[in-house]
């Protein structure tokens, strides 16, 4: 009996992600949920700009590539004209919370029935390790070489907390992608977010605290430990909004 195998939601293409990068795990979870909910043939995904820019090569669904930061506006356009399709975006911290913060907040504010998979690794991976809106205080990056200083470089943005305050949002949860237990939590959260969209409840987001082993300068397992020991002090995992239970 097969207990675990590769999901049909992912293509055969070998990914370009670094060894141990949690993008690979998150892609798997999203693809598994789409497959299990029978959504693969009725979905339009929106790819963003960051390491996951090639996600359209990996997900076995129709996709539209969005300009940097604009995924939630693109998804709004798609969902408004095709309301019976399942629409999600897959965005990193620079895409969603820096250049795209306006489009993301306003899609949430309008209660657009889209689901956002937010991959937060506190750094700009694709462009080589610059500071991100979610970079921690004191964290060294290529554009905060002495460590992020809130006095001149701002504070890490707490996306789940912000979105929990917006009325059009139905569900927000933050989970650390650091263990098999959290894998199951993430999968349950994504399944819930997706089913809320199908039920027309509004905007849903799952924030996944993710690793960037290469730009953090850590081995993959150590990077996961850094999330558990450091990142979760600033970005506390938990359910931030759930309209069915609040």
């Amino acid at each position: 009996m097969i207990k675990y195998q590769k999901t049909k939601g992912l293509s055969d293409k070998k990914t370009h992600y670094c060894p141990g990068c949690t993008h690979g795990i998150i892609h798997k979870i999203v693809a598994e949920v789409l497959e299990e909910m029978n959504l693969l043939d009725n979905t339009v995904g929106v790819a963003s700009v960051g390491c996951s820019v090639f996600s359209y090569d990996y997900f076995n669904i129709d996709m539209e590539q969005a300009p940097h930061g604009r995924a939630c506006a693109v998804a709004t356009g798609i969902k408004r004209v095709l309301p019976d399709r399942f629409v999600f975006t897959y965005q990193g911290d620079g895409d969603l919370a820096s250049i795209g913060i306006a489009e993301t907040i306003h899609a949430a504010n309008r209660g657009e029935n889209i689901s956002v998979i937010f991959v937060n690794n506190a750094i700009y991976g694709m462009t080589g390790g610059q500071m991100a809106p979610t970079t921690l205080e004191g964290q060294k990056t290529t554009t905060s070489q002495l460590g992020r200083n809130h006095a001149t470089q701002g504070n890490p943005i707490k996306v789940s907390e912000i979105f929990s305050q917006i009325d059009g949002v139905a569900y927000v949860e933050r989970i650390a992608m650091t263990s098999p237990q959290n894998y199951r939590k993430a999968k349950a959260a994504i399944k819930k977010a997706f089913s809320y969209q199908l039920a027309g409840k509004g905007f849903t987001m799952v924030e996944l605290l993710s690793t960037c082993p290469v730009n953090w300068g850590m081995a993959p397992a150590d990077a996961m430990k850094w999330i558990d020991e450091k990142m979760t002090l600033t970005f506390k995992p938990g359910v931030y909004k759930d309209i069915d239970h609040d």
Binding site: D41, N60, M63, Q65, P67, A73, G77, R80
Partner: protein, 355 residues
Amino acid sequence: MSKQLLKGNQAIALAAVQAGVDAYFGYPITPQNEVPEYLSKYLPEAGKVFVQAESEVAAINMVYGAAGAGKRAMTSSSSVGIALKQEGLSYICGSELPCLIVSVMRSGPGLGGIQPSQADYYQATRGGGNGDYHLIVYAPESIQETIHYIKEGFDVADIYRNPVMILIDGLIGQMMESVDMDVPYTPRKLPEKTWAAMGKKYHSGQNVINSLSLNPDHLEKHNLDLQAKYNLVRKNEVRYELINMENPDYVIVAYGSMARIARSAIETLGEKGIHVGMIRPITVWPFPKEAFAKIPSTCKGILVVEMSLGQMVDDVEIANRGKFPIAFYGRAGGNVPDPTEVEQAILNFGKLVRL
């Protein structure tokens, strides 16, 4: 035939509904606000989509999404708002999607003014987005002509899988004219949108709307294919009007409201015995270069008149190929020339030089 007095911006909204637009995404900016205002009422009544976006940037990206999903999508804005859309327009061209953008020009640069202008000719025809791309740009001179090109514009966008811009000035958007919304329009033959990203069960294989390619040979081929498409547009879609072109002493080149002002000047000059013709581009991209071969050798010079300090004049110089002397007359800041200024520019040809 049922004529009614309509404001330009309202007629644009009605024409878009008649053309079967599925979705409008836009943002308020003077002098085109009536376009989203009327559509916010008409579209929901027709079971279609209207969204007031949070910015012109968001609006063009919503258009990109809806167009990629295979639907008829449009936006409208003015000058400084069109400037914000440049990234989106480059993506839409690179991804080969159809859509319609209405640009109602006001004066600039920067925040500028809210009075009419033609100083976005470069913005429309040279593009501010990145890469080798073109918008197909219609520059109607009247509300009635705008109504026609909105409908044909949607079809042309679908045929070539490219954005179409309707470029008018604030005068056309704001004025009221007697128009007939029921003038018949014969739709063009349209291809099926088998490429749309709308869910795999609606087509074979996987559809991805994308403009990214890291392989130079692959991206170069894509660019060559785009140019081949633009050459087809140049071959098939040029539109212009010739006025009074039998042995003119001078030829005026003007578009939009400026062409209507020039028509008055041409009439008055004719009464004074000075025979002036006009080439009126209707498409400013592709520019009607072929019209310039029709200027007879008796012509003493070409006068370009614009509500700007000289943008279309560059295309006239290219089309002219140094054959006839060219003079320019323009006003800026939202000032609209009156016909006597155009007359004076002809009577003093070459002495009122380009600034």
